[in-house]
Symmetry: C2
Subunit: 478 residues, 2 copies
């Protein structure tokens, strides 16, 4: 039931976003704050995401497994930075049936602790390494801030990879490889450009040595973290006794990492690409890539349906996700709105004229362009879809680039961050105390430090005048 | 690390079962009772199961979705038989961070209530029906009985389908279709024969009008429920206000069903097919279908590895799940044990003789048969695998048939059920009071009543002498 969107994207981004997601039947509210219902149309985008990501993981030798949903409180407490990070936002199971439990059980906020307990039993020798394990599941974090579909939920669809290595080099390489897998996914499949780098001391994961991140820029120029990969060093292997006999028959603590991406990436894609008519889906993540809508009058019915079916059969045989909507209960105009709302990349209208001329009329969702082409030209539909994918990415990339401001002036730095009008790139000392002061004064945080070494924008820190250590991106975020 | 199995299958079925599952690295204990860890080798069997089942569901028009993990207590209470059934075994979340929650939240024991709350919002008209939705997730039931890997856990991997229809006929047809999908899966993929029918009043699902079931017979002649499909009538649609405007513009309550199969089916497969050397996997569920083990001495090394690789490449190109184990740290003998333990259907040994004669030596796991064949014969490997699949099913079916005893004598009926030595088929009145008495006297329950009408074994009930209504299967179960 495609209600039109009443809130404009440029007027109220989150109001618009909620309307688009609800009207396009991607998600719905449940009766519990922060717990979304993923409707079939939205869940199919997550299934496609899982398909692409899972294939990339398996190409790197990663295997899937499944670890318990509930984690004893004592496990979470074993790594001291980790427990500090997560305890305030844990949902606790305290009763089983009518009985009080002896120990509270956390509903999985993340699985480092319970997985590494198993790893310590399984890993005995260098021959057991590397151990590369991933799981697809949901995690629960009892957010006290305002929750939002995909971007910040109390329950979140995600995957968490947890790998163990004999050497630091292998561990760091894999940690960096996985953030690149995420970048390839968001850019290649979601057509969402991202910045890639590592987090500051304040922003890194509880228990990590170094956190790598990819960050997207939203239409309001807020930053949004789209995936992270944590190098854990031996912090957890020492806490959980994950060690192995090396080739010299000596016990060594192992090097570990963990990496995760959640359905938040889909929310970011919706924010980046959607417009005031609804979703605008890049072809590679669209559950339906082409919709065919027959326009029928009594006289033309048989020939129009026949021709529509012929188009459907051709596209199907080419491996395109195509839908033919023949329903009589809805008018063509209603269907046009419906599939615009649902962001279907290409719409083919079939009427008497098309049948007679053996042609097709196609409308491209993302730029509104209408064109006619001979039936035979449909054989190139896959090229057309990948062309749309590229153009959507290029458009998003130029918007992202225009949202980043390189800054050398302290007053201007503060003013921009306070207003949230841009992402700011500046020379920075990297000091956690400095970062806390920036946060206090502007409400913004450092988003990332580029992975590759860059020439410094300035010799001194933009905020505290200490010597600059690297360039960093700062910005507001949800 | 393949420790040999010390407990024999015929001496202690569950002791043997646990050893096989642990040694073959299918599952492991976690530190919480009833919560298993699914290791990569075991989880891959579940991934294959999901793949086959999901395809069958989608062929019937079912879409996947995801609903919240946590369910308000008030939802569970809305359907009175349902709450009676589930409340004693619910894990309750009572705290979020440091705060006590206003209302307890159940960790999903099953999702009828939370899904139908959404359905009541989404369904407005006959045009919205049928609505066919499935979700893959885990459910938690706080079992107080002894828990067992796969067969009875507190957390269980499964899927739950929940469909809504305008008419009773469509709803019943789909309910029966889905139990047949499960039968096709257990018999066709797991090579586990099952009995199919419906449950007695005592044994049906809380809130169902009729529960369909498939039941496998374990080697100790206990029965095990492998999948169920529940026709819910309008019990839930009335409790959750799931109604639609029909073509005459009148409000009608909808007809519903729900159907689920869990990873228990994998446990049953292990019990049915395994032997005293470990797992014995039917080819269609085996993560590795063929393992190639080169037997190397210094002289022959290059040619043996080359020939092994040639076999690997051929099998790979034929779409076979093949593994070449070239590791030097383990001896061929160690590897033979390892892959027998892991139940790999076919093992190919490659030594100097094989290379010279351009032949292969193959051992079939399930019957221990060794044979030699020319290299070219490997082109027929898929036929060989499907032959093994059929033979394993046929063997299991004849064992199942021999475990079923048709009974007319009351004393003998009671004696057999008490001892659990066989599944008993007998004429029965179908009265819940009679069933409760049978349970009290024998500890066994009715397992199912065949779907198709059958000639009655006797005119009167085997237990209470009332007129018999149908034939029923009785047996012990875990």
């Amino acid at each position: 039931m495609a209600d039109r969107i009443k809130i404009k994207k440029e007027d109220d981004l989150i109001g618009w976003y909620n309307q688009v997601l609800l009207n396009s039947e991607v998600v719905d509210f449940s009766d519990i704050k922060g717990f979304s219902v993923y409707r079939p149309y939205g869940y199919e985008m997550w299934e496609l995401s899982m398909f692409y990501l899972d294939r990339s993981f398996k190409e790197k030798g990663v295997k899937n497994a499944y670890f318990p949903l509930l984690i004893p409180e004592s496990f979470l407490s074993k790594e001291k930075e980790h427990v500090k990070h997560f305890n305030p936002e844990v949902a606790w199971v305290t009763m089983g049936g009518d009985s009080l439990l002896d120990e509270r059980l956390a509903v999985r906020p993340t699985s480092e602790t319970i997985m590494y307990r198993s790893y310590s039993k399984w890993i005995k020798s260098y021959r057991d390494l590397p151990m590369l394990i991933n799981q697809w599941n949901t995690m629960v974090r009892w957010e006290t801030k305002e929750t939002r579909f995909f971007l910040r939920g109390r329950e979140n669809l995600w995957q968490e990879g947890h790998c163990v290595f004999a050497t630091e080099d292998e561990a760091i390489k894999n940690t960096e490889d996985m953030i690149k897998v995420y970048k390839n996914f968001t850019e290649g499949v979601l057509a969402v450009p991202v910045l890639m780098g590592f987090k500051s001391e304040n922003e890194k994961f509880g228990g990590a040595v170094k956190t790598y991140t990819i960050e997207a820029v939203l239409p309001n120029h807020f930053a949004s973290q789209a995936g992270t990969s944590h190098y854990l060093g031996r912090n957890f292997s020492k806490a959980f006794d994950v060690k192995f006999l090396d080739k010299n028959n000596e016990w060594q603590y192992a090097y570990q990492n963990s990496w995760g991406i959640s359905a938040r990436a889909i929310g970011i894609m919706v924010l980046v690409h959607g417009d005031n008519n609804g979703l605008v889906l890049p072809p590679y993540i669209a559950p339906v890539q082409v919709v065919i809508i027959p326009i029928i009058n009594e006289k033309s019915e048989a020939s129009v349906i026949g021709y529509s079916q012929k188009i459907y059969d051709l596209l199907k045989s080419l491996g395109v996700k195509v839908k033919l909507d023949e329903r009589r209960e809805y008018s063509p105009g209603w269907k046009f709105n419906e599939y615009e709302m649902k962001g279907v990349p290409l719409r083919i209208e079939v009427g008497e004229n098309e049948v007679k001329a053996d042609k097709v009329s196609i409308k491209t969702r993302f730029n509104g362009k209408k064109e006619e082409m001979p039936f035979e030209a449909l054989n190139n539909i896959s090229e057309k879809l990948s062309q749309i994918q590229s153009e959507m990415f290029a458009r998003a990339q130029s918007i992202m680039n225009s949202a980043i401001k390189v800054e050398k002036n302290r007053e201007s730095f503060i003013k921009t961050l306070k207003s949230g009008s841009d992402i700011v790139k500046a020379a920075w000392c990297g000091n956690p105390v400095c970062e806390t002061s920036i946060d206090k004064e502007t409400g913004a945080s450092s988003r990332l430090i580029p992975m590759a070494e860059e020439e410094l924008i300035d010799k001194k820190c933009i905020f505290c005048d200490d010597p600059a250590k690297y360039n960093a991106y700062f910005g507001q975020s949800y």
